[in-house]
Amino acid sequence: MTCSQIAEKRNQLTPATTPKTTAVHVSVEHLSKNFGATAVLKDVTFSVAPGEIFVLMGPSGSGKSVLLKHMVGLELPTAGRVALDGHDAAAATTRERVRMALVFQSGALFNSLSVYDNLALYPREHRLVNEAGIREKVMRTLQILSLENAVDKFPSELSGGMKKRVAIARALVMEPSLMLYDEPTSELDPVMAATISEIIATLREEYHVTTVIVSHDRELALGIADRVGILMGGTLAMLGPAMALRSPQDPRVADFMNPKINLQHPRFKQLET
């Protein structure tokens, strides 16, 4: 499925039924997080404008996913805070004020529920519409992501790419103001990774949501990000437009973005010494 196919599907939908959301402003203010004696995030500060696509990159273990969990209040900061339209993300009431959706790396689909019930859970539990309205909403979302045939399947019956798309669909049903993606293109083949990137970009256009993506995927960052942040050792090593990734000034960032395979002096041997 390409961008044009998504757009075509979108055009088939009744404009009146297309949900509109108000994008949220994300402000990470001097955020620090320690796990025991280990400092995972050290005084990280940046903001994401409403409607922006912000990609957070960095080596494994640099604290990207931990930062993302702070944005949805799943982790509590040691110092500093994350504010969503001025509301502290760690406060229990923020989830009621700001509708946000996190697409987990693994999908985190409810394994005991069918794809339909996975999507229907949120509107049912929050009593947003009646059962007929839920059905219409779920089927429309599945249609946008070309998942109509998977409606009665269970997560264990889906491929990796389909799971990611169902996870995105489940997030989309929530009509969020803030969409967060944790490694949305990991473990996917290049074509499916490109498809997911196209979906993310199209959804921003369609729903005008603020999007924060944690990823290792250079192509995704260059293809759809407005701005990019690179987290290294718990601090921001780079913050700027996506194009800056093509010629980074910081040598650590340059090595991370364009690693050279060096068989004469392998990195793991250097680490040993």
């Binding site: 799943l74 989830r95 959706a101 996190l102 987990f104 985190a108 689909l109 394994n111 539990e125 929050h126």
Partner: protein, 254 residues
């Protein structure tokens, strides 16, 4: 120091979970379909094993008591011994132990797996309380099914005792005589005592198993460890609670 903090953590988080469940109990009617599912799992699927176990407990009780009592010529009182033992003690305790082993372990495994594979995190980001949709229906179903299971256990146990008392040569008590003595010495208050105990044990077991499941961190190995911990803690809890609840019920009834 670490086991003490772990104990206090577990104790505190269990009470916190209970507060969360109680504070959202108003939404129980909306969880009716989940409540029915849990009644089926906790009640219906546990019923056969409760019946088998209770039958043999009643039988062994009659056999052991019969051998001892026939030395004093008091074997006609077997009915009262089996009746009271099953109603006041063995019925509720055995059902609670079965609940811990069969249902409690399954609850912990399911919730721990949901936690490890981030399904619980997904619920929280969707602003859906795990206490409301996962814990409350289970606790409500336990409260409804525990008395049913205990009464079935009591009846089958009494019946097992009657068969053994009748068929064992050295005891040879007719079922009519057995049940006449049982009825004379076992009162409704004894059965009620057992039902109160069963409710408390069942509630505590399911609450603890849910809490351990929801607080699991790590991977598949930790899921296994959580299940073991849940069963061990439940068994200890049942026996400790049993002593104190028995004391309280005795005080109240006297």
């Amino acid at each position: 120091m670490k086991p003490l903090t772990a104990f206090l953590d577990g104790f505190g988080s269990t009470w916190l979970l209970l507060v969360r469940v109680v504070s959202q109990s108003g939404s129980l009617p909306r969880q009716f379909h989940r409540f029915i599912d849990q009644c089926y799992l906790i009640g219906y699927t546990t019923m056969p094993i409760v019946a088998i176990l209770s039958f043999f407990i009643g039988s062994v009780l009659a056999l052991q008591a019969g051998y001892s009592m026939q030395n004093f010529g008091t074997q006609e009182f077997i009915g009262s011994l089996v009746g009271l033992s099953m109603a006041r003690e063995l019925g509720p305790v055995m059902v609670a132990i079965l609940l811990a082993g069969r249902v409690g372990s399954a609850i912990t495994a399911e919730l721990a797996s949901m936690k490890v594979y981030q399904e619980i995190d997904a619920l929280e980001t969707m602003n859906i309380s795990p206490a409301r949709i996962l814990v409350m229906p289970r606790l409500a179903a336990t409260l409804v099914m525990m008395p049913v299971l205990t009464i079935i256990g009591d009846l089958v146990g009494w019946f097992g005792g009657a068969i053994v008392a009748d068929l064992t040569e050295i005891i040879s008590i007719e079922p009519e005589a057995y049940f006449a003595v049982l009825r004379r010495y076992t009162h409704f208050s004894d059965v009620l005592n057992g039902l109160i105990k069963a409710e408390l044990f069942g509630f505590a077991v399911v609450l603890v198993c849910c809490n351990i499941g929801l607080n699991t961190r790590g991977g598949p190995r930790e899921i296994g460890a959580a299940v073991t911990r849940a069963v061990v803690v439940s068994l200890i809890l049942i026996l400790v609670l049993d002593y104190f609840v028995t004391q309280v019920l005795m005080l109240v009834s006297s």
